[in-house]
């Protein structure tokens, strides 16, 4: 645990480092109304997605369809504003979240009941959901003019200098983190990811938990869709394309093991912030537009490598601990070991 915490501390440190360096090069990066706001605002959407993805990955699954779900729900949000102008914002938002939950449930149901790999299924639904959006939207798109001012304002509004979307992301993060850490269901998600077969043998409600995880992932993707519409003010049928890899990248950078069982949503959130902050920092420190992706890629690989180093240290420590003061299994062996061997000899002579 302490070591996991150290893992998150590492990312946080890297984040601060990036911010620090960039701010030195360009004070406005932090010390300007816009700089400060974007620092908090830009990662908000990816953080929400990463939290959802982290929960799924912890169960040793993955949801590649989040980008398409975001696109669909973002468009739905806009459509509702146009087709049902007098719906209150909250209702619209809830509708989008509900839609996301539904799409997540579809993934979860197929994975949990047909016992098929999530990677394959969500790769399929990535295509399907995107196709549905394209069919529905066609060349139509939602422009800022189509959405209520009040809603668009949410995309940038600040409370006490903190953007609303950032607050939303923070609340989501806190809630999910609390659930994972302190509830039975939360711990079971880790158990399932740690060893699915053992989880089944232990009689955990594996299917229900998987459904829950995917539903949560979908719901958060839906919420992200709403945030997307509010922030970018325009939604085309291509919204969120290719986001899945960015999200998984963030989760991995955040130290959530891709094979499930370990990692925290806080880490995933930090990973998301780190990725996007670096994205924004690179041009400021003068890395030309075109080379930026390369740097991000190198960063992701670096982060995973770091994880490995830490993990290896951990298991070495555990092995050492076992040898140093061998617990139950190996301690008291000494004095009485001959016992059963004698007995056994006797029996087997008898059997002869």
């Amino acid at each position: 645990m302490s070591l996991l915490r150290r893992r998150e501390a590492g990312i946080a440190l890297a984040l601060l480092l990036v911010i620090g360096v960039t701010t030195v090069v360009q004070p406005g990066f932090l010390f300007s109304a816009g700089g400060w706001r974007d620092l908090l605002l830009t990662p908000a959407i990816l953080v929400v997605l990463a939290v959802g993805q982290a929960v799924v990955v912890i169960t040793r699954n993955v949801d590649l369809s989040v980008g398409s779900v975001l696109g669909l729900t973002a468009y739905l949000t806009g459509r509702l504003f146009i087709d049902a102008p007098d719906l209150p914002l909250v209702v619209v938002a809830l509708a989008a979240v509900a839609a996301g939950t539904l799409l997540g449930l579809v993934n979860g149901a197929i994975v949990a009941f047909a016992r098929v790999p999530a990677l394959v299924i969500t790769l399929g639904t990535l295509y399907v959901y995107r196709g549905v959006t394209l069919t529905w939207a066609g060349s139509d798109r939602i422009d800022a003019g189509d959405m209520p001012r009040a809603f668009l304002r949410l995309g940038t509004q600040q409370v006490l200098g903190v953007p609303v979307l950032t607050i939303v992301a923070a609340v989501v993060l806190a809630a999910v983190a609390h659930y994972l850490h302190t509830s039975r269901g939360g711990r079971q998600l880790y158990a399932i990811g740690s060893d699915p077969a053992a989880a089944a043998l232990a009689g955990l409600p594996v299917r229900r938990r998987l459904l829950g995880a995917f539903a949560l992932g979908g719901a958060l993707a839906g919420l992200a869709g709403v945030m997307f519409a509010a922030r970018y003010g325009t939604v085309s049928s291509g919204a969120g394309t290719g986001m899945e890899l960015q999200v998984v990248g963030a989760v991995v950078v955040g130290g959530v093991a891709i094979f499930g069982g370990s990692g925290t949503v806080a880490g995933a959130a930090l990973g998301a912030m780190l990725l996007l902050t670096i994205n924004r920092a690179l041009p400021v420190v003068g890395i030309p537009d075109f080379w930026q992706r390369a740097v991000v890629g190198a960063l992701i690989i670096g982060a995973i490598a770091l994880d490995r180093v830490l993990a290896t240290r951990r298991s070495r420590r555990l092995a050492a601990a076992r040898d140093a003061d061998p617990p139950g299994g190996t301690t008291a062996v000494g004095p009485a070991a001959p016992g059963p061997d004698h007995d056994r000899t006797r029996t087997e002579e008898a059997t002869a």
């Binding site: 990677l119 399929g124 196709g131």
Partner: protein, 339 residues
């Protein structure tokens, strides 16, 4: 003792691969019968030209997935090799020199992935998501806004010309040859057996003297090299080397491989299934386009096909599902490891 539980024809026909082959045949027949213009000679030409890069990359991907790993960086390698090839052409290199150099670079890209996965023991999914961004970044970085064009016809013909009067493009031969090579490699050599064993239990493979790391490294190098080859083909077919060439190809390839019946957990898979998977995606696309169906519906169809192809056998062979599920937890986890 009997060497087989089931008669040969059952073993040959009642396989996951054959399901894909069957769907392909049906799709083809239906399309030829109902879709105007599908039975024309152009269909074959375009089909081959379009699927060529997917098929190329799918060959090594099949083996990688069969070990339980995955390589998502392939499309970026295609892009990077396309750019390198273009730049080398500008620099005045000959066709073969430029081609060799690009393929070599691809091999290096693959080696980097392979080293990180096999020797540093990092999860391939994560690593190659990283190198996907890295290699693509290098590709667009190298060329920026420019695109290298104007390759001599003598070069581009190799990628686009047909065999004399037949509707079959020249590249067909190359594809068949390479597919055959990989088929033999996977199904009839010790290396292939080891690949499948690693997919099922790399621990047991190690105890049988299989050099798991070297095997993985080789596979990723192959993947890089073949992707680079696809990059060159790409460049010559479209006569334009660009940093963003083949963006998103990786998902198409993975989809095709899985559609072809390779288990994402590793340990199971056959090349004829994958070839059928690639063709199926190509045929569906071309038939639907001829019907004037737009890209979105095509996406839906392909996505659904992917899901169904995985779910259907599960539901059919429900017995097997239960059996697999009830094997000892240790093995269960060892298998699930790679989900």
């Amino acid at each position: 003792m009997r060497s087989h539980a089931r008669p040969w024809w059952q073993r040959a026909l009642l396989t996951r691969e054959m399901l894909t082959v069957a769907i392909l045949v049906v799709a083809w027949v239906v399309a030829s019968a109902t879709v105007r213009g599908f039975d024309g000679p152009l269909t074959i030409t375009y089909l081959v030209l379009d699927i060529a890069p997917v098929l190329l990359v799918a060959l090594p991907m099949t083996l990688i997935v069969a070990t339980g790993e995955i390589d998502l960086s392939v499309a970026s390698v295609v892009g990077l090799s396309s750019v390198t090839f273009g730049l080398l052409y500008q620099a005045g290199l000959g066709l073969w020199a430029a081609l060799a150099a690009s393929v070599l670079l691809g091999a290096v890209c693959g080696a980097v992935n392979g080293a990180l996965v096999a020797y540093a023991g990092l999860p391939s999914l994560a690593v190659t998501i990283g190198s996907l961004a890295l290699y693509r970044g290098l590709a667009v970085g190298l060329l920026g806004t420019t695109a290298v064009t104007g390759f001599p016809d003598s070069w581009t013909d190799g990628a686009t010309a047909n065999l004399s009067e037949s509707p079959w493009p020249v590249v067909t031969l190359g594809l068949l040859a390479l597919a055959a090579v990989f088929a033999v490699l996977l199904h009839a050599t010790p290396f292939g057996r080891n690949v499948l064993d690693i997919g099922r239990s790399s621990e047991a493979a190690r105890f049988s003297g299989v050099d798991v790391r070297r095997t993985l490294l080789i596979l990723f190098v192959l993947s890089g090299a073949v992707s680079a080859l696809a990059g060159v083909y790409y460049t010559l077919r479209y006569g334009s080397a660009r940093g963003d060439n083949a963006t998103g190809l990786e998902l198409q390839v993975v989809a095709a491989v899985l559609l072809g019946g390779v288990s994402i957990f590793g340990g199971r898979g056959a090349l004829h299934g994958v070839v059928a998977g690639v063709l199926l995606i190509g045929v569906l696309g071309s038939a639907l386009r001829l019907e004037g169906v737009t890209v979105n519906v095509i996406n839906i169809v392909i996505g659904t096909a992917l899901v169904v192809s995985v779910v259907a056998p599960r539901i059919a062979g429900g017995v097997r599902v239960r059996r697999r599920a009830s094997t000892s937890p240790r093995d269960g986890s060892a298998v699930a490891q790679r989900s």
